[in-house]
Symmetry: C2
Subunit: 519 residues, 2 copies
Amino acid sequence: MYAIDSPSSKSIYADASTKQPAVGKRGGMAPEVFDPQVFREHAELAITRLEKYLADSSIRGLALTAPSVLLQTAKKLMVGEYESIACLDKERLTAIIDLYIATGIQVHSPGYMGRQFSGAIPLAGVIDLVSSIVNQPSSFYEAGQLPNVVERIMADEFNRFIGWVPEQFAMVTTSGGSLANLTAILAARNDKFPHMWSEGAAALTGQLRPAIAVSQDAHYSICRAAGILGIGEEQIIRLPVNRNKQICIKQVRPTLEAAAERGLKIFCLVASVGTTSVGAFDPIDELGEITREKNIWFHIDGAHGASLLVSDKLRHKLRGIEKADSFILDAHKMLFVPAMCTLLFYKDKAKSYGAFRQEASYVFEKESDIYTEFDSAEKNFECTKRPLIMNLWVVWALYGKALFADKIEQLCQFTESAYQILQNEPDFETLHHPEANILCFRYLPENLCAWAFPDFQVEIRKQIRQAGKFFISKVDIDGIGALRVVFMNHQIEVGHFRLLLDEIRATGQALLKGSKSDD
Amino acid sequence: MYAIDSPSSKSIYADASTKQPAVGKRGGMAPEVFDPQVFREHAELAITRLEKYLADSSIRGLALTAPSVLLQTAKKLMVGEYESIACLDKERLTAIIDLYIATGIQVHSPGYMGRQFSGAIPLAGVIDLVSSIVNQPSSFYEAGQLPNVVERIMADEFNRFIGWVPEQFAMVTTSGGSLANLTAILAARNDKFPHMWSEGAAALTGQLRPAIAVSQDAHYSICRAAGILGIGEEQIIRLPVNRNKQICIKQVRPTLEAAAERGLKIFCLVASVGTTSVGAFDPIDELGEITREKNIWFHIDGAHGASLLVSDKLRHKLRGIEKADSFILDAHKMLFVPAMCTLLFYKDKAKSYGAFRQEASYVFEKESDIYTEFDSAEKNFECTKRPLIMNLWVVWALYGKALFADKIEQLCQFTESAYQILQNEPDFETLHHPEANILCFRYLPENLCAWAFPDFQVEIRKQIRQAGKFFISKVDIDGIGALRVVFMNHQIEVGHFRLLLDEIRATGQALLKGSKSDD
């Protein structure tokens, strides 16, 4: 156990006093760590390391380290139990920050083509620093005034591209897409089965069994939601998809009707724009018609693709989004801010209060006033919530939406170019026409059949990750592994992509050789 | 609508080119916002504003502004739709940061005595900056190697004070206490009603109705969890509390037995250390015995008080915590890091996987390896997750646990002093003996009966908030409003507290006068 009264552990205080902290007298406890000057020194040290990191445009992926090794490295950086603590241990802090930087996926490098989070806009990170120091949890107006009005501003900015009736819709920020999907489906459940909140499962006795219709290719958080909310994963109805992994619109009505015949009441249909696996955009305009007609809550998981709203050129891919009862958008994906910042939109403001109901005198006011009207705690899971919107708004305020739109357009255009390149490479198979910035394909030299060597692509991906030059991901498509790239960095050029293909070829060939010699 | 092709909106790029972004050539799109040098300038500007803010030790609370006014102020700070954008608009950024700072609760001031979040340790904010720039979502080892091993390290550090079998317990970080409580109760539900995940409510047909036992004074997130998880808020069994708002241990068995007689199966009992309203510590040692005997999942909401684990002097208040099946701790409360950083502990590692079950080929590996063993996505709500643990670990690594322990001890000791002061002030009524750093009381001059003027305390609190010198909170105790202070700032002195009492008196007297003259 640590001995807190040992003189050594006291030395972190300016006066190194061994007496008990004096209560009621300033100076009795003054850890240097709260000193504004020390804050500056820490911050400047971090900036210097980060600036160097941002300036490094070399091609690199991930320096994958065995957890047990990294664990020991990290432990060695910790101050010892009885060690005397130097007042400002710059060396140790530098080593920690450098280790943190070095062991991450190098999201700002052109070697990073692997996932849906990005090398964040650095200014957004700076605002996160401000948010952390001023610490304004924003579920309540009084605790975060600016974040709360800024949420309204950003809601209105987005609504220019949605077209809902002003003042009648709602937007809530929450901690990630999975949580936002869950919140929306909960609102749907409470809307369609209003007694379930108070009565629980018993409210369903004698009723049709609630069910949720989703794409065969929906994000795992949707099925999870069924498990969490007492709906049951078995009550997930899978809507068939077409070759491009979009919900096949012709099969929607028959699937819904077959489910109804089995005694299920589908209360919510979830579409995706785009899907996580291949970035497919479901036909939301038509789905909006069907759900309206059948009185089904229409939720759109737009974690990845709803950000295309900001692009005049690409917005057409979201035609019909105004028909959604709710949709989500992860700003930490295609709006390039640090994780996490998810926006959850409701067409009908009144229904945004439907997800939760509660009383808590220490926070909720009995009577609403001009301030509490801006509170969001009744509409999101979090009680304490980071002011998630701030880093998005500040960048938007300084640079306008063009910064986001141009970057999105460039990424999508580049993905199309990468697709065209693959079309001309006979040893590669493309698996879909990319709709945004996600592209899935297989390396199949010499007409290798994908089924003959099912782990081939996954093994290529693993070895490429291990080699550390590129970071790409993998995905199952129709039961077989495939390679997946996500272009989040606008500094990636055709040359980088060609280098990746070379590396895939070399890795694949080595694997094939190894496998032949194994026989 | 914005016109993205207008020359003005293009001027944010270094070359101000009006042609389409060139694909495949660097330089075609190079917003200065990604420039490392510009990052430094933005960051230095922020540091200068924050250093000034941290150095301000004046007594101040909250500058409460009407949302409509603040909304207009914020809008004016945004770049206009067709406005030409200056390359680095320092003036605008400074104005935004200053507005952000000025409109928050002044958590670093001695005037802040109001809530459970703190003026965060500045170094923790610096690490948040690093986290935002390196952007390593940490639900998967490969995406955030250091955060994932550091979670193990911090779990072990805490376990020195818990005493579970090493390697057999688990700790998961998640986005806030409400979500952590929900996760734990979901794990409990899935453990005790394993078919509910897949079958939903139907799994309960013919069974006893599931119910959760909680303190009469539990946090609202617990009751919400019953609504969310298909248990139903009606199946919340309230355990009576004693004068100090702790669960009254003598009444636990009779209450549980009465519930069983009504056909309820209590599968989970939730205790608090301490409660949000008054900071009461439930008798967890005894509750641990009862739940073990009755085979009930024992969850402890230690959002506020479980941090006392790090103090050798105060740890005794958590005697019995090792009996919990799960407990949570908000490091953004009593470990003084920025919101949010919640730690969720499970006694039995295997049960930590019980909260969620899912398949997703693009993230989850079919076969686990040394890396995936460190993944947490199967154990937390988030798919993308901030590396929440980092800012806690870095401070811990540099300063050891003594920094936290000493501050906690000082805050609790100071609260006791404040209580003693109130005992000697005949016009104040204390409502409990504080167990940590939360203190509730009423101003009742001239033996005013609390019931005679039920909104008196709430009105005092409101006016004090409005005056902007102090920020305190309010709470309902036994149906009547009360004043509530939470001491999170170690720089608060007796003199500050006495100033607050003077202000309460003056405010109360003015209200009484006004009320008399109204008659």
